[in-house]
């Protein structure tokens, strides 16, 4: 069995600051991490490997240093990985990204057929959750999103049964393989790497594929292949409301509470 995990390297969003004067992002010094959702996708793949036996391959698109996240995955038990890196990919929006990743998955599949493609529910730098279903459409395979657990897998029938988290409950779905699954954080707890595996993974030489290595129509990649364009970036508008600063006039908590509760009562919320 062959499993592929799409693992993205993202800036640690909690560390990004905005230049208050220029209104631009300050990215310098911001550490990069493996997208947390994708790590849960990896864990789900590794659990299938433990249970049923499988080869787990990582696919990452990003700059050269993104090999870090592949090595991390290898230290946890992934068998191999490939980094897609090319200037032609820069500026890809979700449409172009799903195209490039889908083409790379096709190529990986030529060597050994793929049964399950795992994605994270979403990448924390964009929060779009669009790339997974997009890859699924392009590969024309079964797609099941928001997976919180794989219940069972039948190697002979080539089906999996998974649980999906929706707004009002859990849906249990049976899907034919090959299938693309996007995984939620609740699915599992991520394992830790054993020290020897960690040391071993540092030596792993990650193969890098450029646009030439994958069959790609360059018109569908990068900025050229991205229909969405950023028109402008600006600081969020400040809501224009007259804030009453209670503490400008009163300092005693009990008095402050009296005033606030008056307002709550006036709003009819004390009934």
């Amino acid at each position: 069995m062959r499993l592929v995990v799409c693992l993205k390297q993202v800036p640690d969003a909690s560390e990004v600051k905005i230049d208050p004067i220029k209104g631009t992002m300050v990215r310098a010094g911001v550490p990069s991490i493996a997208n947390p959702y994708d790590m849960h996708a990896l864990e789900e793949a590794l659990r299938l490997k433990d249970k049923y036996g499988a080869r787990v391959s990582i696919l990452t698109m990003g700059p050269p240093q993104a090999t870090d996240v592949i090595k991390r995955a290898v230290s946890l038990g992934a068998d191999d990985g490939v980094l897609l890196s090319d200037r032609a990919f820069a500026g890809s929006d979700t449409l172009a990204t799903s195209y490039i990743l889908a083409q790379a998955i096709r190529k990986m599949g030529e060597e050994e057929a793929i049964d399950v493609v795992f994605c994270g529910k979403m990448a924390i730098d964009g929060d779009t959750a669009q790339v997974g279903p997009g890859i699924g459409s392009r590969l024309d395979c079964a797609v099941t999103t928001y997976v919180v657990g794989v219940r069972s897998l039948d190697k002979d029938k080539k089906t999996v049964v998974v649980e999906r988290r929706l707004e009002r409950g859990v849906e249990v779905v049976e899907a034919d393989m090959p299938v693309l699954l996007t995984v939620n954080k609740e699915a599992n707890d991520i394992r830790y790497a054993a020290l020897p595996a960690l040391i071993e993974s540092i030596k792993y030489e990650v193969p890098v594929w450029t646009a030439e290595d994958v069959q790609l129509d360059l018109a569908q990649c990068g900025l050229k292949g991205s229909p969405t364009q950023v028109k402008k970036i600006f600081p969020p508008p400040q809501k224009d409301i007259e804030t009453v600063m209670v503490t400008d006039t009163i300092s005693d908590p009990a008095q402050i509470a009296k005033l606030l509760v008056d307002k709550i009562e006036e709003a009819g919320m004390l009934a």
């Binding site: 800036p11 969003a13 990004v16 905005i18 992002m25 929006d93 979700t94 449409l95 730098d125 964009g126 929060d127 779009t128 959750a129 669009q130 279903p133 997009g134 699924g136 459409s137 395979c141 079964a142 797609v143 099941t144 999103t145 049964v161 988290r165 707004e167 009002r168 409950g169 859990v170 849906e171 249990v172 049976e174 229909p227 969405t228 364009q229 950023v230 402008k232 970036i233 600006f234 600081p235 969020p236 400040q238 809501k239 409301i241 007259e242 804030t243 600063m245 209670v246 503490t247 402050i256 509470a257 005033l259 606030l260 509760v261 307002k263 709550i264 009562e265 709003a267 919320m269 004390l270």
Partner: protein, 332 residues
């Protein structure tokens, strides 16, 4: 040439239409009027045809219906095929969906066969008066920045919008329109996923989106034990506990309580926020509140600026004082 069409996905779950469909319909009407075009609802499912007329009451001119047993419940492949086929045929200018589980999944799956540009989680949608392009604004990466995105050539211009961000327009039963029935080309045997069962959440789960009163705590509460300060005030008010994302990430509260862009959008009559800084990701989820009270020890905290009443102080002094005052008045 036919007039430009704005399409709205009418989201239904087990035959029940989600309110967000009408929120989007109201926005669709506005955009279509700005474009000099029409609004069409897209209603997909099984035995749902009769509900099409509801869409007219909220502003649709047309409803395309695909009613088929294979579409009884949402499946990515089945819905994406059916809808992208009719979109290829009728070529809408704009296509909006809700940023719900279903809408996010479907929009991602149909943008690729259509080659469309798609922007997730927009907070503002407007037609540029000069270019007539759809300007889609969303909070972007890292928090304190907004980006306006547009799509010059590819069509449709697709966007998803959070539930409860937009008001539901007035329902007008006098409005009518045309129902157009379409077909799907997929057979059950072509579809690669099947629902085994659906396990609904127990009734007791929080539904923060419908709460009239939300008392929210942020990283300022420090640790899980201190959450009781927030809970006590929420209880005194008969309200629901909300929170910012760090509390969910830290496992202090489940996601059902998270307010904001990757949490829930709320429109309560009263929102009280304590120990929350006011990142745009949080603010977009709560700015629809009628009365907003904010407590923060930092006078520069952004959330104070969106408050009706701001208190600069220690939440561990102020919040219990409010709880006590409420209990005193209610007891009297």
């Amino acid at each position: 040439m036919s007039q430009p069409a704005v399409w709205i996905l009418i989201e239904q779950n087990d035959g029940v239409i989600a309110d967000v469909s009408w929120e989007l319909m109201g926005k669709g009407r506005e955009l279509a009027d700005d474009l000099g075009g029409e609004v069409a609802g897209i209603l997909v499912g099984h035995n749902i045809k009769d509900q099409a007329k509801e869409a007219f009451y909220y502003g649709a001119d047309k409803v395309y219906v695909i009613d088929d047993p294979t579409l009884e419940y949402y499946r990515t492949q089945a819905y994406a095929h059916a809808i992208s086929d009719i979109a290829k045929k009728h070529k809408p200018e704009i296509f909006l969906m809700a940023a719900t589980s279903l809408g996010r999944d479907l929009s991602g799956a149909i943008a690729t066969p259509l080659g469309a540009g798609l922007t997730a989680d927009c907070t503002v949608l407007e037609i540029d008066p000069e270019t007539k392009l759809l300007h889609q604004t969303r909070p972007a990466f890292g928090g304190n920045i907004m980006a306006t995105i547009y799509c010059q050539i590819a069509r449709p211009q697709m966007a998803s919008v959070r539930p409860r961000l937009l008001p539901i327009p007035e329902r007008d039963e006098k409005r009518t329109g045309t129902v157009i029935e379409e077909k799907t080309s997929l057979q059950e045997t072509d579809i690669k996923t099947r629902r085994v069962e659906f396990i609904p959440d127990e009734g007791a789960t929080v539904n923060i989106e419908d709460a009239e009163c939300v008392v929210a705590g942020g990283r300022g509460i420090g640790n899980a034990d201190n959450l009781k300060v927030i809970e006590e005030l929420a209880n005194a008010l008969g309200g629901t506990v909300g929170c910012s994302r760090p509390l969910v990430d830290a496992g202090i509260l489940p996601h059902a309580h998270q307010v904001g862009m990757s949490g829930h959008t709320i429109r309560p009559k009263l929102y009280i926020g304590a120990g929350i800084s006011g990142a745009i990701h949080h603010v977009v989820g709560m700015e629809g509140a009628d009365l907003t009270i904010v407590i923060n020890k930092d006078p520069d905290a952004a959330l104070l600026r969106v408050a009706d009443y701001g208190v600069v102080g220690n939440l561990f002094d102020i919040v219990p004082a409010i709880t006590k005052e409420i209990k005193a008045r209610k007891g009297a």
